[in-house]
């Protein structure tokens, strides 16, 4: 039996487990308590003090995010004393935060900005004191220290969720800040470019490198822009056009993007097919070997970086097949490459890194000229005042081509299907492919092929990948093919504002 306690929050009676925090109890009582640094289970560091509340009879204010409830406790969220302290916290934070809001990538989605507005922070009584170290402008992940409010969310999401520890709390006293661990330059750091820290940054200190300018220049120079909008982009488009997910189809995305002057938009099914074919061919080759090494899909660039930094010994298992992004770029740049500008509307930061690192003969020979994350794409598209309804109406009248299937990320099934066809010359019968889950976030696909059993799996999430790789290293698990998508819920969970 969980022990329950009853308390009041701004006069509202609420009953919660005795181990609950005041913040949790307030959630139950539907009394919002503003907070910046708190992330349940991940960043319970009680640093920003924005959630301070008054407890009747207590000498000092307490932080709602970490203070436990007690029987009969009387919590005052917005008493003059609590409110004054909360305002002071935000004012103090603002005194060390570069408020170039109009130019900030977080304009409109910044939690600090919203908090300042909600609390009616007017002119700042404190002197501004803004410091920041320079940052490598070429790296896909950008950090503007002048905006960092030292909430330490990035530190803990990287360490506890992504197991990477790229970020570190540095210096002491007044100089306390966050920096790349071990004093490394970010380009040398083991950053997988998963982008989780960007999505958790409440104040715009972390962002993606802005490549919108590259696209705009290409358009101005009248280059032919060929855009790849993979299926994963659909649900992200649904978010910023405020449409239902199922209403956003590939043709609708294409129609919207074309309004900006980009003449060609594809979902990349052709590139995906080429990728699937290549992987199936490699697997078919492996079948001939007695004890073939496992093959790791390189479709997810975050996973390939993760492997490079954390499991260098397993790097050799990475498939030599480049990702579908590369196939798209290669195809698009065939022939008159000079006047072609290839654009990928990718779901994540990792794709920027992949495009940067793609092997090429020279700057103009890059398979992909620019990768825009959903945030950049949103900023780009917004400036055209696009209206989704108009496009929808147009599409209805034209009766256009293209699939309306929900976006499927995993390519394991298509690869196995292609493999089966390649080896047997027949379509894959459903009973030959068994599907089950052998571990959290892991889906096993077992294919019966020519009397042989081919074990493969698809894993989502970095923590689950750690388990898989450990299992492989220790010999606990044996797979012929492994696909890891690094984000916790496939590509749709990539950073969002």
């Amino acid at each position: 039996m969980v022990k329950l306690v009853t308390l009041t929050i701004d006069g509202i009676k609420v009953q919660v487990p005795a181990a609950a925090t005041i913040l949790a109890a307030a959630g139950k009582a539907r009394v919002p308590i503003p907070h910046l640094c708190y992330m349940g289970g991940i960043n319970e560091v009680n640093a920003c003090k924005v959630c301070v509340v008054e407890i009747a009879g207590r000498k000092h204010l307490v932080s709602a995010c970490t203070e436990k409830v007690a029987e009969g406790m009387e919590v005052l969220v917005s008493s003059p004393r609590a409110l004054a302290a909360r305002r002071t916290m935000v004012q103090l934070l603002l005194s060390q935060h570069e408020c170039d809001c109009a130019e900030c990538s977080r304009n409109g989605s910044c939690q600090l900005q919203k908090l300042a507005a909600d609390l009616g922070i007017g002119e700042l009584p404190y002197r501004k004191k803004i410091v920041g170290r320079p940052w490598d402008p070429a790296f896909p992940l950008q950090r503007d220290e002048k905006k960092c409010i030292k909430c330490f969310r990035c530190v803990n999401v990287c360490a506890k969720v992504q197991t990477m520890k790229v970020w570190q709390v540095q210096k002491s006293g007044a100089l306390t800040t966050v920096g790349v661990a071990d004093g490394l330059n970010i380009a040398q750091a083991p950053c997988t470019l998963c982008g989780q820290c960007i999505s958790q940054c409440p104040a715009g200190a972390l962002s993606e490198r802005d490549d919108v300018g590259k696209l705009e220049t290409a358009l101005a120079e009248k280059k032919r822009v060929l855009a790849l909008a993979p299926p994963a982009f659909r649900s992200l488009a649904a978010d910023f056009f405020a449409l239902k997910k199922e209403a956003v189809t590939a043709p609708l995305v294409a129609a919207l993007v074309k309004k900006t002057g980009i003449p060609s938009v594809t979902e990349g099914s052709e590139a995906a097919s080429r990728f699937v074919e290549a992987e199936a061919a490699l697997l078919a080759e492996n079948l001939k070997k007695e004890d073939a090494a496992p093959l790791f899909s390189s479709a997810c660039p975050v996973f390939t970086r993760f492997l490079r930094f954390k499991y260098p010994a397993l790097k050799k298992y990475l498939s030599p097949t480049p990702s579908p992004l590369f196939f798209f770029g290669e195809e698009a740049k065939k022939g008159e490459a000079k006047n072609i500008f290839t654009l990928a509307l990718a779901p994540c930061l990792g794709k920027k890194g992949e495009a940067d690192e793609a092997p090429c003969a020279g700057e103009n020979e890059r398979p992909i000229d620019a990768v825009l994350t959903p945030q950049e794409a949103e900023r780009f598209l917004k400036s055209f005042s696009l209206r989704a309804e108009e496009c929808e109406a147009e599409l209805l009248s034209k009766k256009t081509e293209g699939s309306t299937d929900p976006a499927g990320n995993s390519l394991v099934v298509p690869i196995l299907t292609a493999l089966y066809e390649k080896v047997t010359g027949q379509k894959l019968p459903a009973e030959k492919l068994q599907t089950f889950s052998s571990a959290p976030g892991r889906k096993d696909y077992v294919l019966e092929l020519d009397g042989r059993t081919l074990r493969t799996c698809a894993v989502v999430g970095q923590k689950n990948a750690v388990k898989l790789l450990d299992d492989i290293q220790s010999g606990k698990a044996k797979y012929a093919y492994v696909e890891v998508m690094n984000c916790p819920a496939l590509c749709q969970s990539a950073p969002q504002s």
């Binding site: 009680n46 640093a47 924005v50 000092h60 204010l61 103090l92 006293g173 007044a174 306390t176």
Partner: protein, 616 residues
């Protein structure tokens, strides 16, 4: 490869951090008097800011903003708005900081704002500072009588003892008594602490007075007679000091002393093993040599003595220095038992014809002050078989000097800490049979920084004994104040810092009868202040000449060096005798100790002013 764990680091830089903290502590302990409180608060906040771990906003940013505001104010760029913002910011930090690093720093800012309000306003409104740095020789500034300490140390080192004693007498006519028993506030902020430890000033003074006994020192210059008459009530150190300087200024003083001999508490309160009476007389003789008239066995306001009004009529001015010879009671049942007496009575009777008889007795002394230690050590010397010191707080909370406590314990006294008197048990004849105390536990810290004792959940303690000596405080005998129209506050005369009494022209008061029981140098200082102000009241401006030729200072060798201490006779020897227990420094030690003096009188701000002598 990086190790997973390491033992506590011994990196040179971390070791040095400890050294740095040690140096900081010594520096703080030797803080010069009179610095700007706002500037100090600023730098305190900056240190606190450097010490924060940097996790929380109130500390990491808040303390920085508080420091900026303080800097603004201290540099004269602040406004009342900055003051207000400083206060509200500090309040929020104190209210919300996670740990003591932040909240305690902010609380101190709030206290500073409250206690130094005028300093803050002076910076804001006039870009000026109320800091008083006119006397920045720490020992001299902190000596209540402002004796020229570096001067007499230099003379002592040079072997010019007579000149050293003469120099001391310019501000304090009790060099011998102070050399033996002064609590030496002069050592508190000694700048030598920056290097190692304070100079042992009292020991050097002892070397001076041992080198030139009272009568060997010539009397100083005396102004011609003014014909003015001043009555001094009380022949203790304060009264005699006042009389001495007034005589030198040309006035005629009469000292009225209730007891048969002069010296006040120095004679009737301080045991002779600490202050042999011939040493006291060495100080008193030159005072009397100035021509002071003395009436002993004359209790002003007493049954046979003159009334105060009478004195005020017959004299041009009156100085009241009656001391605090009244005792405070325990107020517990059984206090009227035979064998219970006050510390005042015990020490006074030691000077009488019949010393108290405690041979073979078991004695409980109640209290934790120096007087309690004097009593217990006296009882031991009187042959008591067993002695207890019963104190309601802890040893660390005692007001007695640690070396006095240590000496008492070494001589055989047993300390019973955290025991509050609850009653005194009598035998069938009405004499003391046992002392009953309630065990205590430490409680919350009071305003003076000591934890209050709270009753512990424990059975009472019974100490069988045949005598109880109550040493829990003293006050003016209420009989002196009865029927007088003197202003009274907390049982003392309510006189000003200049010793005048509001509404009573020509009447002055100082020493224990104003401030309650204090240390001898405070009473001497009050006597000196009274003499100057009485001289002015009488319409004169006699400035006593300063004639000492202090040896030139050499820049000191600042090598850290130990502090030479005076030793005591071994406990087993000294506890059987009332002979002086403290042994002087040797000539060698005296020279070594004096050489540690940094001569702040010659190296510092006071060189900007004439010679650096204090005001007279």
């Amino acid at each position: 490869m990086k190790s997973r764990l390491t033992t506590i680091s011994t990196y040179a830089s971390e070791k040095f951090t400890d050294e740095l903290y040690g140096a900081m502590e010594r520096r703080l302990a030797s803080a010069p008097a009179g610095l700007c409180p706002v500037d100090l608060c600023l730098n305190f906040v900056r240190l606190a800011h450097a010490q924060t771990c940097g996790k929380c906003v109130p500390c990491r940013i808040g303390l920085g903003q508080a420091a900026d505001l303080l800097r603004e104010i201290v540099e004269g760029r602040g406004s009342l708005a900055s003051l207000q913002l400083l206060e509200s910011t500090a309040r929020v930090i104190a209210d919300s900081a996670d740990c003591a690093l932040g909240s305690k720093a902010a609380e101190l800012v709030l206290q500073s704002l409250q206690n130094s309000k005028e300093d803050y306003l002076a910076h804001i409104e006039k870009d000026s500072c109320t800091a008083k740095v006119e006397c920045s020789v720490p020992c001299r500034a902190l000596c209540p009588a402002h004796v020229d300490v570096p001067g007499y140390i230099a003379l002592t080192a040079a072997g010019r003892y007579s000149e050293a004693v003469a120099l001391i007498r310019q501000d304090n006519p009790f060099p011998a008594a102070c050399a033996l028993i002064c609590e030496h506030p002069c050592e508190l902020r000694c700048r030598r602490r920056l290097i190692d430890a304070p100079i042992n000033i009292r020991a050097l003074k002892r070397s001076a007075v041992d080198g030139a006994r009272g009568a060997e020192v010539p009397l100083p210059f005396k102004f011609p007679s003014t014909g003015k008459k001043v009555a001094v009530v009380g022949g203790g150190p304060g009264g005699l000091t006042c009389a001495y300087y007034l005589q030198l200024m040309g006035h005629s003083c009469t000292v009225f002393e209730a007891k048969p001999a002069l010296g006040g508490m120095l004679r009737y309160g301080v045991p002779s093993y600490r202050l042999p009476r011939e040493r006291l007389d060495e100080d008193i003789a030159p005072i009397l040599a100035t021509g002071v008239e003395v009436q002993v066995d004359t209790e002003v306001c007493g049954p046979h003595g003159p009334a105060l009004a009478e004195l005020r009529e017959n004299f041009d001015a009156v100085y009241l220095a009656v001391g605090a010879h009244g005792d405070k009671k325990l107020r517990v049942p059984g206090e009227d038992a035979a064998g219970v007496f006050s510390a005042v009575a015990l020490l006074r009777d030691m000077e009488g014809t019949e010393p108290p008889k405690l041979q073979g007795e078991t004695v409980v002394v109640v209290g934790g002050g120096n007087v309690a230690m004097d009593c217990v050590r006296t009882c031991i010397r009187l042959g008591a078989a067993k002695t207890y010191i019963v104190y309601r707080r802890r040893r660390a909370d005692m007001t007695a000097l640690p070396e006095e406590v240590q000496a008492a314990l070494a001589e055989g006294a047993e300390l019973v800490e955290l025991a509050a008197p609850s009653s005194i048990e009598k035998d069938e004849k009405g004499a003391v049979a046992a002392f009953i105390a309630q065990p205590q536990r430490v409680g919350p810290v009071d305003g003076a920084g000591r934890p209050k004792p709270l009753p512990a959940d424990a059975p009472p303690l019974r100490i069988p004994c045949s005598a109880v000596i109550v040493a829990v405080g003293q006050q003016i005998p209420p009989s002196f104040l009865q029927g007088s129209d003197l202003p009274v506050k907390w049982g003392s005369i309510d006189a000003e810092a200049d010793t005048s009494i509001p509404g009573c022209p020509g009447l002055f008061a100082g020493g224990d009868c104003v401030g309650g029981p204090g240390i001898v140098i405070d009473a001497i200082a009050a006597g000196k202040v009274a003499a100057a102000n009485i001289d002015a009241y009488l319409g004169f401006d006699h400035r006593l000449p300063r004639t000492a030729a202090v040896p030139e200072a050499e820049a000191a060798d600042k090598t850290p060096w130990g502090r030479a201490e005076q030793r005591l006779l071994p406990a087993h020897e000294r506890k059987n005798t009332f002979a002086h227990a403290e042994l002087p420094l040797s000539r060698e030690e005296t020279c070594q100790e004096a050489a540690r003096c940094l001569r702040c009188d010659r190296f510092g701000r006071q060189t900007l002013e004439k010679g650096g002598e204090g005001p007279w």
